[in-house]
């Protein structure tokens, strides 16, 4: 056995190619505002923010086993805190994104306290109830427009960090410059989310989480603290979802309780993205958001039919291909773009 050593590795040929491609794509994405139209920038913003929400929901449900139907609570609360900060305390909206995340995190503590009392499937509706309570409470908050909502004040919009620089650099009007700023922030958020989740899953804690996903009893028997992992995952997801919510409404410029706490927009779509793409993988939500965007573009003129097709597709995937589209691809080819499986390799 002399001269043989073993190393633990997660790297695969596909993942190395993927890393290079991702780097190239990232450079292109950063430079995109220099040559893309404003509508493309807005579409990309939508895709990136939905991808961020999907990654966090996937972390919750796909890895943590926490099927939440109440993530709109964090989207809405985060967004409202950004607006409240700007209106009441004159916080710069870009800095307000941090408020979004922190307040969503604070909201997550009582939410988890209540929702974790409900077992399994009842947890799902429990989170939905909390989201409704937050929506109804925020609708009583008169300073941010109560039930009808409000707009981001003009001076807060104009004061956003970086907008003037973008205006000068790209020679655009301030509304287009704000879109570019929002797009870059969304890009940074999505990259940080995917990178962060990927990093987390490769750590010891991530291994514990994956173990819990695969078999709760077996994981607990080797010392994984499942209750603690649930808290960690729930709080992290709330923080990220809150920032994404703040960003979505920073770009939107207008907020109302019904739009900010919409279960369809911020939870149903997100669930379908994850399920269709492939739950429990990082690749899944990426594929899912592209399919989702394509469907939305194709079926834009058909109103309610679009949601029926999306819902039907989600049901069909769950019934016949629970691994989603990415599950079909990786099941056939064995490709993993974000490998977290540790393999023992022998080196001569």
């Amino acid at each position: 056995m002399a001269g043989q050593t073993y190393t633990v590795s997660t790297r695969t040929a596909a993942s190395q190619i993927a890393a290079v491609v991702a780097l190239v794509l990232l450079v292109v994405a950063i430079a995109l505002p220099a040559f893309a139209s404003r509508s493309l920038i807005q579409d990309m913003f939508f895709i990136l923010t939905m991808l961020t929400l999907a990654q966090f929901w996937n972390l919750l449900a796909g890895y943590g086993g926490l099927v939440s139907v109440g993530q709109q609570a964090f989207v809405g609360f985060g967004a409202y805190m950004l607006f409240g900060g700007a209106i009441l305390w004159g916080v710069n909206p870009v800095a307000g994104l941090l408020l979004s995340g922190v307040f969503a995190l604070i909201l997550a503590i009582p939410t988890a306290f209540f929702a974790f009392r409900l077992q399994g499937a009842y947890f799902a509706i429990g989170t939905w109830v909390v989201a409704e309570v937050v929506r109804l409470s925020v609708a009583q908050w008169k300073a941010v427009g109560g039930g009808t909502g409000t707009s981001l004040p003009r001076d807060a919009r104009d004061a956003m960090w970086g907008v003037e620089w973008i205006e000068a650099a790209f020679d655009t009007r301030s509304s287009a410059a704000r879109d570019i700023l929002a797009y870059w922030l969304a890009l940074a958020l999505a990259v940080a989310t995917i990178g962060g989740i990927y990093w987390f899953l490769r750590t010891k804690r991530g291994l514990a989480l994956a173990a819990l996903r695969d078999n709760v009893d077996a994981a607990r028997s080797v010392g994984v603290d499942s209750a603690r992992m649930k808290w960690v995952v729930f709080l992290v997801a709330a923080f990220g979802t809150g920032i994404a919510g703040g960003l979505i409404f920073l770009q939107n410029g207008r907020i109302s309780p019904d739009s900010a706490f919409s279960v369809i927009d911020w939870t149903a779509f997100v669930i379908f993205i994850v399920v269709i793409g492939g739950i429990g993988t990082i690749e899944g939500p990426i594929i899912g958001v592209l399919v989702f965007f394509a469907l939305q573009t194709l079926l834009a003129d058909f109103g309610a039919w679009y949601l029926m097709v999306l819902g039907g597709l989600g049901i069909a995937v769950m019934l016949f291909a629970p691994g989603g589209l990415w599950g079909l691809v990786s099941g056939r080819t064995g490709i993993q773009l974000f490998p977290i499986r540790r393999r023992l390799e022998r080196r001569e």
């Binding site: 449900a61 086993g65 099927v67 139907v69 209540f114 009392r117 409900l118 077992q119 399994g120 499937a121 009842y122 799902a124 509706i125 429990g126 939905w128 109830v129 409704e132 309570v133 109804l136 409470s137 609708a139 009583q140 279960v263 369809i264 149903a268 669930i271 379908f272 399920v275 739950i279 109103g303 309610a304 039919w305 949601l307 029926m308 999306l310 819902g311 039907g312 989600g314 049901i315 769950m318 019934l319 629970p322």
Partner: protein, 287 residues
């Protein structure tokens, strides 16, 4: 006096919430399935009754009787064709499938009946009331409440006095052992969902005659139903009725203080119970 009236109206409203909740409670009790489309199925049944009333010129009660077997068959088929495939130890597939169904149903109704809010016409019954002392109680709310009690009694009877109920309880306790005794879980589950859809139809009759509804009304009904089930304690039918009444009273009392607080007060009552008695007031099931 106004508070006595408020509480009484709340109790009667609670009857409606109990009707929403009993179907959910039944299905959960037997197969541990949380049907996220439950509220939308109630709204669907309301549209079915409305359709029968307007197309065939039937009275609302007659239309509901015609709708009963249709809804039973739909529930049976839904369970047989779709839900039985996703039942198992993993809670994710049934949740996601019923959530998808909820979105599909809402949008199918939106496409078929538009977003306008509708009401099932009930003629003179809509405004009829019974004066009891200084308080007057609406006939429809009273009928709703009596129906909730009747449905609870009927389900209780089915559960504890019939062979079907024995099969329900056995499958609920241990599907594998029950199937050794000749009970087919797949078929038992299909019957249970069919019966739940009968309760849904009764709930829809009162939902549709008492208030306006539109295709997006469903999710809020699901939430009230869920709260009633949890307050009552999982697996207890009388508990579910009590849970419905608590939500109803909380809502009318909240509305009496400030009309904007009606819905919020119901949710707060639920959270308080969850805080004090996490397993509900009358828990039976252990899981």
């Amino acid at each position: 006096m106004i508070w006595v009236d408020t509480v009484l109206q709340g109790v009667l409203l609670g009857g409606l919430y109990a009707l929403f909740a009993l179907g959910l409670s039944l299905v959960f009790g037997i197969m541990r399935l949380v049907n996220l489309a439950h509220g939308d199925l109630i709204v669907f049944a309301a549209y079915l009754i409305l359709l029968l009333v307007t197309l065939l010129g039937l009275g609302p009660f007659m239309a509901a009787i015609v709708a009963l077997p249709i809804m039973f068959a739909l529930g049976w088929a839904l369970q047989r064709v779709v839900l039985n495939r996703v039942l198992g130890t993993d809670i994710l597939p049934p949740l996601l499938v019923t959530f998808g169904l909820s979105v599909v149903l809402q949008n199918a109704l939106l496409e078929g009946f538009s977003a306008d809010s509708r009401r099932i016409p009930a003629g003179w019954l809509e405004t009829a009331s019974l004066p009891i002392g200084p308080i007057s109680l609406g006939v429809m709310p009273l009928l709703t409440f009596l129906s909730a009690i009747a449905v609870t009694l009927a389900l209780q009877w089915v559960f504890y006095r019939t062979s079907l109920g024995r099969a329900f309880r056995a499958t609920s306790d241990d599907p594998v052992t029950a199937s050794l005794m000749g009970v087919k879980p797949a078929s038992v589950f299909a019957k249970a969902t069919g019966i739940a859809m009968i309760v849904v139809t009764i709930a829809a009759l009162y939902l549709g005659t008492r208030a306006n509804f539109d295709p997006t009304t469903g999710p809020a009904r699901l939430i009230y139903a869920f709260e009633a089930v949890i307050i009552g304690g999982l697996g207890s039918l009388w508990g579910t009725l009590a849970g419905g009444i608590i939500i109803g009273v909380a809502q009318t009392v909240g509305a009496q203080i400030n009309p904007e607080w009606q819905i919020l007060a119901g949710h707060v009552a639920f959270l308080v119970v969850l805080l004090i008695r996490p397993r509900g007031l009358f828990p039976r099931a252990f899981d």
